[in-house]
């Protein structure tokens, strides 16, 4: 299995093909519905983002609370489609990778192709298992959003499948 690191290197990103199974290590940021809404609002207002997006990977995930003696609770992917309305703006701002579950809209696929980004699938409904690949979790923005806050995660060998590659090719049949 291919090993890659985040933030993503351009060359590694371009070598990924839809359907490839990879192990990701490095730094990623959780962000889901409300965080996406706020980030795009900040972009529209041209105000500073709490996280610089250039080259980064976001994980569509709202973990449970953190039980004692653990780094993070259950932390699987959430449905990516709900982020579709915001994704083109984030990609235009430099975001390079997304991790979630399920299919994306045609507009999102086009934006992934245009900005040469990549969309990964994480094992859906396997939040307890995926927690074992997280080495640290540090909240960085929007604490008032509870589980929807942005958290910086250090991951090690997180198993992912390339859902949509930088050429816009999808692992799912075209709908």
């Amino acid at each position: 299995m291919k090993r890659i690191t985040a933030p993503l290197q351009e060359k590694a990103l371009r070598s990924l093909k839809a359907g490839d199974e990879v192990l990701l290590s490095g730094t990623i940021f959780t962000a889901r519905d409300q965080a996406h809404k706020r980030l795009t609002q900040s972009l529209a207002r041209r105000s500073k983002l709490p996280v610089a997006l250039a080259g980064q990977v976001v994980y569509y995930c709202g973990p449970t609370g953190t039980p004692e003696h653990t780094v993070i609770g259950s932390c699987g992917p959430t449905t990516s489609r709900r982020m579709d309305a915001f994704t083109p703006a984030l990609l235009a701002a430099g975001l390079k990778g997304m991790i979630g579950k399920g299919n994306r809209s045609p507009q999102t696929i086009a934006a992934i192709k245009k900005h040469k980004a990549v969309y990964f699938l994480a094992y859906a409904g396997c939040g307890a298992l995926l927690a074992q690949f997280i080495r640290s979790a540090l909240p960085v923005a929007y604490p008032d959003l509870g589980p929807e806050a942005i958290v910086r995660l250090q991951v090690r060998d997180l198993p992912l499948i390339v859902g949509i590659d930088c050429r816009g090719k999808s692992v799912y049949p075209v709908i």
Binding site: G65, K101, G102, A128, I161
Partner: protein
């Protein structure tokens, strides 16, 4: 006459939350293992194995099977001879709070659907049925919203054909596609009123999905068998990446309805179908 205190109810509900989130239902685990045995696609096998491993990790480490710990639905079968000392509704909500706090489960519930606001763990949705006897049967079904969002209700004409009804149910699963953590368990509610059909569809998910539903009428059992085959033929498979099993099971609840209608509700559950039940006497 038996008396059941509010404190006992809270305690039971709290335990049921932990049980539902930490221990995958045995019938669901059996269906996943069966799906793995019949799977030939290598990637689908790996994904099914990951789902099975996830349940083992959750149990061992006391982590929620899925981070979406849902908006819990609590079903109460309240024996009409039972006496509750204290406030039943409050006891249930207190139990949910205690269980969700103890398990560090997710704060996923916002107080206002439009204003949203900071999420918390309450309130659960409570359904109470009055039944004969003096027992109180409590069931916690914490369904995540990835799959809850795929629920469909259609008010068919009473003259609708079985083919049309089957097509609607299969199309509901097709529309869910890879998004709601397949392989799925499909609950179908037939008849009643609009809201009764939705409730029946959800209650169907509480049935044993590994054993044949012996109480179901013959024509409905045949229908569920046909639906399982048709849904598997969609080849959505684990994570929507193809495979032999798309429906771990289809379960049906049916009830009387009006001469002018035929409500059909479909409740889609992800593979992480979680629930737990306890009876107090």
């Amino acid at each position: 006459m038996s008396t059941i205190t509010a404190a006992r109810i809270s305690e039971a509900i709290s335990e049921l939350c932990l049980q539902a989130h930490w221990h995958l239902r045995r019938d669901v685990a059996r269906c996943l293992k069966k799906a793995l045995r019949r799977e030939t696609n290598a990637r689908a096998r790996r994904l099914l194995q990951a789902i099975i491993d996830n349940a083992a990790t959750a149990q061992r480490r006391k982590l929620a099977i899925c981070q979406d710990t849902g908006l819990p639905a609590v079903f109460v079968e309240l024996g009409q001879q039972a006496r509750i000392r204290g406030d039943l509704n409050r006891a249930i909500q207190a139990g949910i709070r205690a269980g969700y706090t103890k398990g560090s489960f997710r704060h996923s519930i916002v107080k206002d659907p439009l204003l949203r606001g900071e999420p918390g763990v309450l309130p659960a949705v409570i359904h109470i049925d009055i039944v004969p006897g003096s027992r109180v049967k409590l069931t916690v079904l914490p369904k995540g919203f990835g799959c809850e969002n795929k629920t469909q209700l259609k008010m068919f004409l009473p003259t609708a054909s079985l083919q049309e009804i089957e097509a609607f149910i299969v199309d509901t699963v097709r529309a869910a596609g890879p998004d709601a953590c397949p392989p799925y368990v499909i609950g179908v509610g037939l008849g009643g009123t609009a809201e009764a059909a939705c409730l029946m569809a959800k209650k169907a998910l509480l049935k044993d999905i590994a054993a044949p539903d012996k109480k179901l009428a013959g024509h409905l059992s045949a229908l569920s068998g046909r639906l399982e085959k048709k849904i598997d033929a969609l080849k959505i498979g684990p994570m929507g990446l193809g495979g032999r099993t798309t429906a771990l099971a289809v379960r049906i609840e049916a009830g009387p309805t009006h001469i002018a209608g035929l409500p059909v509700a479909v409740s889609v559950s992800c593979h992480a179908l979680r629930s737990a039940t306890k009876t107090l006497v």
